[in-house]
Symmetry: C2
Subunit: 176 residues, 2 copies
């Protein structure tokens, strides 16, 4: 259900094609949701079938037609219903924590590799956040009302990542 809701949200802001949505998932929505192009195309088609989206086919010379989706009143109603119901608890799935359950069983160099790889991923995430911040929220003083809440999500993302990094540094220091 959540992918569907995210699609409704982004298409409500601005209609677009499956490809457009994929680009949004890679840039401004990168810290919110990710999905493969196959998942997006499939879901958009299902939503059109369910009457939540309209689809206008725009022919293009020498390229596949663009299928521009936009939200319908039924789609907006479905979105409102989703917004009105508080989210349930999310499932816990932490493969790294699982690895830590037999941490002493590993060769030391495998541990180092794991931690180094994690560190890179966390730093890459911070950089991605910084890019979003620069593009969308460069001046926190001048945020519009509509920008304020999305900006908070970005800040939380940053803070969670920093919590991870601090913890990682402690672990690495202890392992020496």
């Amino acid at each position: 259900m959540s992918l569907r809701a995210v699609l409704l949200i982004t298409l409500q802001r601005e209609p677009g094609t499956g490809y457009d949505v994929l680009q949004r998932f890679k840039t401004g929505l990168a810290h919110v949701w990710q999905a493969s192009h196959q998942q997006i195309y499939r879901e958009l088609d299902k939503m059109r079938g369910a009457g939540l989206l309209d689809c206008e086919t725009v022919p293009q010379a020498e390229r596949p037609d663009r299928k521009v989706y936009s939200i319908t009143p039924a789609g907006r109603a479905e979105l409102d219903a989703w917004l009105a119901a508080p989210l349930g608890p999310s499932a816990v799935r932490q493969p790294l924590f699982a690895k830590f359950f037999i941490w002493e069983d590993w060769p030391a160099e495998a541990r180092q590799r794991e931690l180094a790889s994690l560190r890179e991923q966390l730093n890459a995430r911070l950089q991605a956040y910084a890019a979003i911040e620069k593009e969308w929220f460069s001046d926190p003083q001048a945020l519009t009302a509509a920008q304020r809440a999305p900006w908070h999500t970005l800040r939380l993302g940053q803070q969670l990542t920093e919590t991870w990094l601090t913890w990682l540094e402690e672990i690495q220091a202890e392992g020496e």
Copy 2:
């Protein structure tokens, strides 16, 4: 793959039935992994089929037979391979962040309900962590080598939850 790895880890520590594993997912492994009983039974059967687990059927009077699974050498090899390969980045899926993208569109009381519900969930999670800590790591000074890494995962879980809570309090304060 990760569910499979978690099952290998827990059955390597101690053989058990699907039901046993489910109980572990509810207690000592609660902050690591969750899965429904159907998912567990299905996966255990597949793993037995793939030669990763042995299954010994223990008849019981007046109750369904217990199927006790234990890890095979092939299972241990698969686990070692999983441990040796650093984890890839995990997918980003934050439905709450999506809601925040149209936060100003909601009625104020719906927002309050959402935040209150989140707060309850976070507090419940902290309590679950405290229970695990009490049962498994009551004396941090006296941790065995094997307990040390799992204890670190618990601490990270707590710290992440606290980061969420601090953020939540800021948002709630600002909303007044």
